[in-house]
Symmetry: C2
Subunit: 280 residues, 2 copies
């Protein structure tokens, strides 16, 4: 754990169903830009190979790729070329006809983990994606322990807690937030939930989001890197393609103390929380 | 459940160790003011009978009261007189020499539940309070289902989730937040955590806090009533004694749908969350 102070980049992009080459070129260019800006960890949006607004399962199946397909192969080459850790989302064609809303963590050695989104959002459930049933992974990397989950997963505090209990110091989340109106002056609650998840676990969280319009759906943007105290380190930009960068010290996330006598992990009373794991 | 649209009041007060009569008078006056302003539910701060900055266990024991002591008796009389539901915190002398950081929910019929804080903050652990080991209660009242917890309990998303799973539509929390600096322009994370807890559960949360200085400790204020979408309904005031009021419709919290195909309770995957209830 020699290297603790690192630059994290979240690439906020506009992508589109039906433009595989365009999506791949845009992501490639963003990864290169982030690397040149000094990033060691690069986070990409959800479904970065395909866009999101599929007409139907046939269109999704045609766009999805296996783990050894051209998109992940290219990301692995870029990770090796620039010395990066890349966390990005992609539509994954799995066994048989199944398609997953997946994410990978790639380092210079290749794909370290593949995660399939466990909590599906709205139309994703509608004969499109199959939900994953594995726990969110936490990977030992050259810079520290990094957890991975995807978009709506972040709205389940249980899921965030679990990667923190597994020792994640940085949680990287590809997201694709639909634009909903927030009251005047209020920060979108997608970001509020990330701030809360970061501070109750004393863990950094980096989310890379989508912007733009896609087949009538507007995307929120709002990519953010939040520190272990729960405060954003980056300016929140809602309407523009951008790369947000922050220098973070992962050692902050290894110190779970919040007062002389308090610690966010050892103060838990797990013996009282068994209800959380039981059916409704 | 005839009455769903109700006024909730959070009384933000300055209190002091060693001034039992003064504390009681101040709380009595705040309850009366809230009732005259139309409140049906009144939330009081943590340890509203005693203040917080005890020199030692002897001072705490001398100030603590049993459930049938003068403070709770007075609150019950006020609840009956004004037709209120009151949720307030108090230092409770229990069996033997034990003292608890407790809260009550009182309605016109008297004390409906007594809850003892399960997650103790800092000096509370230092030979002062005994932690409770009961789950946070949810009470069927004339206006709807109301949950109760206290201050640092709110920083455990598991605890908030549990009252929501038990059907709480409104969570009332007596709190006593120490003042910590937040970065310029940032909302205190105590409030961010409440916003997140409200929206991931689609439940209203009302927190009544302390202000002022007490034996060198500054209190944050920040009393807030948050709606089931996670947005504050009240202006956040940090430096002044005040009563914040909001009219809420508890029916909003009975609807857990957040999209055509999503529901914050049925989308959970409890079979994957068993880790939450296990030791570290």
């Amino acid at each position: 754990m020699s290297e603790t102070k690192i630059v994290v980049a979240c690439c906020q992009l506009s992508l589109a169903v039906g433009d595989a080459d365009g999506n791949r070129a845009k992501v490639r260019s963003a990864i290169s830009d982030a690397a040149r800006a000094g990033a060691r960890v690069v986070v990409l949006p959800e479904l970065a190979n395909t866009g999101y607004m599929f007409a139907d399962i046939d269109e999704l199946r045609a766009a999805a790729e296996p783990l050894n397909g051209p998109t992940i192969t290219e990301w692995a080459n870029l990770a090796a070329q620039y010395g990066l850790i890349i966390v990005g989302g992609f539509a994954e064609s799995g066994d048989g006809d199944l398609v997953y809303n997946s994410a990978v963590l790639i380092d210079e050695s290749g794909v370290r983990t593949r995660y399939r989104k466990a909590h599906l959002w709205d139309r994703e459930k509608d004969n499109l994606f199959t939900p994953g049933s594995d726990l969110p992974p936490v990977v030992d990397t050259a810079v520290g322990r990094i957890g991975v989950m995807i978009c709506y997963d972040l709205e389940f505090p249980e899921w965030i807690r679990m990667v923190a209990l597994d020792g994640a110091e940085l949680l990287c989340a590809p997201v694709n937030w639909p634009l909903y109106p927030a009251p005047n002056g209020e920060r979108p609650t997608e970001i509020v939930k990330i701030q809360a998840g970061a501070t109750v676990n004393r863990m950094f969280i980096a989310a890379a989001a989508r912007v733009g319009q896609e087949r009538g759906q507007a995307w929120l943007g709002g990519s953010v890197i939040v520190d272990a105290d729960g405060f954003p380190l980056t300016e929140i930009q809602l309407d523009t393609e951008t790369i947000v960068l922050a220098t973070i010290n992962l050692a902050d996330a290894r110190d779970k103390a919040i007062s002389e006598r308090n610690n966010v992990q050892t103060d838990r009373r797990p013996e009282l929380y068994s209800r959380i794991g039981k059916p409704l």
